[in-house]
């Protein structure tokens, strides 16, 4: 599968499924062993893409659930080097694309070129960096392009049409559409999305993913026909917190 681009993978997968699932985990939360176990369960239960978040001490775009997971992973001694090790292991044993998600200081301190190189070496396919607007991202984009990593950019409901087009020129793989204002983990009303998603579709030919507040099968079903990928972020961590690592497989299986 390494030869197909991320975008091709999504399009081919979409011929078989009416919506794809992307899940999110915080590496090292509650432990690296648990992270691997959760990723295995997600893949076994049909997840199509996974965001691997490298913990950061100041995750300003994340709500309380993911924030706590970041802090606990760091308190438990999670390092960026270990995150690369786990990424390499899960990319080697699973056929689905894995993406890194983190804040810009992580690649910046790792060395931008080294971060892109090490990500590609580990088998990572792209990265989502929510505090890196394209205006600040020239160096990162160049390094990622050099290693065939896809930069996943974000649209939000208050992104102008002109800005959506500018972002579309720089994004690859797919575009991550944030469903609403606010941070991750709060609930969302999926009823009023049509106008916004219409603007997203008009701005880019890339596949669209939608996240923020997608937490159950009803939410996923509501997105069929509207986007290509439903993103389940905080809810998986909530499941781990409330019902344990073993409950993740069943939760994911019930989403679609």
């Amino acid at each position: 599968m390494a030869s197909a681009s991320l975008e091709q993978y999504i399009r081919e997968r979409r011929r078989e499924k009416d919506i794809l699932l992307m899940t999110h985990i915080v590496l090292g939360y509650p432990s690296f062993e648990a992270s691997i176990q959760v990723i295995d369960a997600m893949v076994e239960n049909g997840v199509d893409l996974i965001e691997l978040q490298i913990p950061f001490s100041e995750p300003i775009a994340d709500g309380p659930v993911i924030l706590h997971a970041n802090q606990k992973a760091l308190a438990g001694g999670s390092t960026v080097a270990q995150c690369f090790d786990v990424a390499r292991a899960v990319c080697a044993r699973h056929p689905i694309p894995m993406l890194f998600m983190s804040y810009y200081n992580i690649p910046f301190m790792h060395g931008i070129e080294a971060f892109a190189r090490d990500s590609a070496d580990a088998g990572i396919r792209g990265a989502i960096i929510p505090d890196l607007p394209h205006e600040e991202g020239a160096e990162m984009l160049e390094a990622m392009a050099g290693h065939d990593l896809d930069p996943i950019f974000i649209y939000s409901p208050n992104t102008s049409d002109a800005r959506m087009s500018a972002i579309a020129e720089r994004g690859r793989g797919f575009v991550y559409c944030v469903a609403r204002k606010g941070v991750t983990g709060a609930s969302t009303d999926f009823g009023g999305l049509d106008e916004y998603l219409g603007r997203c579709r008009a701005a880019t030919s890339l596949p669209l993913a939608l996240g923020f507040g997608v937490s159950n099968a009803d939410d996923v079903a509501a997105l069929v026909g509207k986007v290509d990928i439903a993103v389940i972020g905080s809810e998986t961590i909530r499941v781990i917190d409330e019902r344990g690592v073993d409950a993740v497989g069943e939760f994911v299986a019930g989403l679609r």
């Binding site: 300003i60 939000s156 204002k181 941070v183």
Partner: protein, 409 residues
């Protein structure tokens, strides 16, 4: 031509997509206000009638004689309404909020001075107000929390991370990404994403404008050295801004040396060697972080200086060699405060006392022809609990015990 929002290699706007439109709006509102001469007049009018501007400079005659070196002058930002230079920035942003037609303000606070100033501005201008404050700071600055609540603000203790200033900033951003339509985030220092460093410095430049004229009138010359404490850096930029072009004026920023060198022991980003360049809280500067980019614990006796980052404008001035950075330890700071209170009857805040502490180290080596200007950025009454602890004052302890007994009844 540098990119807008950059100072050398520092600054920028590393913001989530959801806030891009809000920052565009803020930048435009600020540009339009700055280009409108009536706006600065309105600001000066507000500050002269509601606060105490122009604040005077005071000749510290006794300390000058004690040290036998340079003549020491003090810029009295402690005489502002709410007791610190914070009022300058807050009232300026308040006037901007009115221009933007927003109805609610939020702010972070460390020592509580910026929180009190923001809550005061909100009361005066009829705005709703929420203040985010680290739980650790809530515990050590209760009197300021009390006043914020009396002023009508909701004070939210932040229980995440290190539970200090940086975590309060993160929480304020989380509020803002949800409520930006009616809410302005009145960031309290010259940090954060563009245009905050520039905007906060602009409002604080009133300090330097006044001081430059006043010191020439009082001392007959420009100062040889200007000292200011540096947390985020807004009071320092306020007073330094008027002297940047004067090559003969040395500018010295004094950071929190805490318990001494070593990461975790202090909050000195530029004055000690423990910080490295990184990107967090929306901007690029020197941060106290580990090799992988995780922010580390900081320590200072002064809550208002207890912060991992520093203004990108100051980081650039440091790199260019225009501002010299030093640090003062907790002990030196409490000693300097004690001396200033006894010899001059001035009560500088613990934050401001850092500037005094370092100026006192250098003053004796200077000649009586030379002039020192210290920015007393705030007043120290708010620090009564911390200072009483530092002095281990038995009468104060007895008073608190009696008070506690009375509440128990």
């Amino acid at each position: 031509m540098p990119e807008p929002g950059y100072y050398g290699r520092f600054g920028g706007a590393f913001i989530p997509e959801i806030l891009v439109a809000t920052f565009d709006e803020l930048r435009e509102a600020f540009e339009s206000a700055r280009n409108d001469p009536a706006f600065w007049r309105e600001f000066e009018e507000m500050m002269s009638t509601y606060s105490c501007r122009p604040t005077p400079i005071t000749f510290a005659e006794n300390l000058t004689a004690d040290f036998g070196g340079a003549r020491i002058f003090v810029k009295r930002e402690d005489l502002n309404h709410t007791g610190a230079h914070k009022a300058n920035n807050v009232m300026g942003q308040g006037l901007l909020v009115k221009r933007m037609g927003k109805t609610r303000v939020i702010a972070e606070t460390g020592a509580g001075q910026h929180g009190v100033a923001t809550a005061t501005m909100a009361a005066k201008l009829g705005l709703e107000c929420t203040i985010y404050m680290g739980e650790v700071d809530v515990a050590r600055q209760r009197p300021n929390v009390f006043w914020m609540e009396r002023l009508g603000a909701t004070v939210v203790p932040v229980t995440e991370g290190s539970r200090t200033l940086k975590d309060a900033i993160n929480e304020a951003f989380r509020d803002w990404v949800t409520n930006m339509d009616d809410t302005h985030y009145a960031l309290g220092t010259a940090c954060g994403p563009h245009p905050f460093p520039e905007m906060v410095s602009y409002f604080q430049s009133i300090v330097g404008q006044e001081a430059r004229e006043q010191i020439q009138a009082s001392a007959g010359k420009l100062p040889d050295r200007v000292y200011a404490c540096v947390g985020g850096g807004s009071n320092a930029l306020g007073i330094f801004s008027a002297f940047l072009e004067d090559d003969g004026v040395e500018l010295i920023g004094v950071e929190a040396g805490g318990r001494g060198a070593g990461i975790g022991q202090h909050a000195a980003r530029l004055g000690l060697d423990d910080a490295t360049v990184g990107v967090a809280q929306g901007y690029k500067t020197y941060f106290l972080q580990n090799a992988e980019g995780q922010m580390q614990e900081t320590h200072s006796v002064a809550a208002g200086l207890d912060y991992v980052g520093v203004s990108p404008i100051l980081a650039d001035l440091h790199e260019k060699g225009r501002v010299r950075f030093e640090s003062a330890t907790d002990t030196e700071v409490v000693d300097a405060l004690s001396l200033t209170v006894r010899r001059e009857g001035l009560i500088p805040a613990l934050e401001s006392s850092h500037a005094f502490a370092h100026a006192f180290k250098e003053a004796p080596q200077m000649s009586p022809d030379e002039v020192i200007l210290i920015n007393q950025s705030g007043r120290g009454d708010k620090d009564i609990f911390t200072v009483a602890d530092a002095f281990d004052d038995p009468k104060w302890k007895a008073f608190i015990q009696e008070k506690a007994e009375a509440y128990r009844g």
